[in-house]
Amino acid sequence: MKTSTRELPGTTIVDVSGDIDMSVSPGFRRILMESLSKTPRLAVNLSNVRYVDSSGIASLVEVLQAARKAEKRLVLFGLNAPVQEVLQLTRLAKIFEIRKTEKEAIEAS
């Protein structure tokens, strides 16, 4: 898994690529938490994520909980079919704010 971060006015975007499984999910969580601490809105680009397991989803849930507690926003975008399927199967698709594109994620009101 690889990540990179971009700063936009009012939004930080974390671009993620590769697989998110138990071997990398702690680092994934840490990176998102660090980014969230510095921005009012965190957008996570998952368009290049090929695979995510329940530990990756759990990391996203933890970041979402932290965002809600801090009254910040977490937006996921670019979800492909395997990632969508895992969210559906774990019944967590509806708790996240999800957009198709970066533009929609940034402009989401």
Binding site: S23, Y51, D53, V61, L64, L89
Partner: protein, 158 residues
């Protein structure tokens, strides 16, 4: 000088793609090998005739079981042994994961309702959603988890 005319090579025998197939691997409980196992599982499912999306789902289910062994049975020790067996016969494939770690709470594999956004239990929930049969047993000092998926559509889940 004369040269022998080369003979036409005999075509190689090819296995019956729908015939029985077995595969086994013994690996350390190193999380870096999760991706290797996923690739292997996905390829084995494809050999057996499952569609691409099903191969991905089966790989996810086995990956979740594999991760559970590392995290719960072996308490994040990365130097223990995991045995993963594969068997394809008839209209199904089956993965068996064996470890020598702590016994697992059997109820974890019996299906629990998911509670809001609680973090626990989603891995085993995924396994039960994807696979048609999930059987766990504890024998002497082994945990043995068998995951079966039927090829035919419409098979009811266990």
């Amino acid at each position: 000088m004369s040269c022998d005319k080369p003979s036409t090579p005999e075509p190689l025998a090819t296995p019956d793609v729908s015939g029985p197939l077995r595969f086994q691997m013994r690996i350390p409980s190193d999380p870096r090998l999760l991706a290797v196992v996923r690739c292997t599982v996905s390829e084995l499912a494809a050999i057996r005739g499952f569609a691409d999306d099903q191969c991905q789902s089966i790989a996810l289910a086995v990956d979740e079981a594999h991760s559970n062994i590392i995290r719960h049975a072996y308490k994040d020790r990365f130097d223990q042994e995991i045995e993963i067996g594969f068997r394809a016969e008839g209209d199904y494939l089956e993965f068996t994961l064996v470890d020598h770690g702590e016994p697992i709470d059997r109820s974890k594999y019996c299906g629990q309702p998911l509670d809001g956004i609680a973090l626990g239990g989603r891995g085993t929930h995924l396994i039960r959603q994807i696979m048609d049969e999930v059987c766990y047993e504890r024998t002497s000092e082994e945990n043995r988890l068998r995951l079966r998926k039927y090829l035919a559509a419409g098979t009811s889940k266990g």
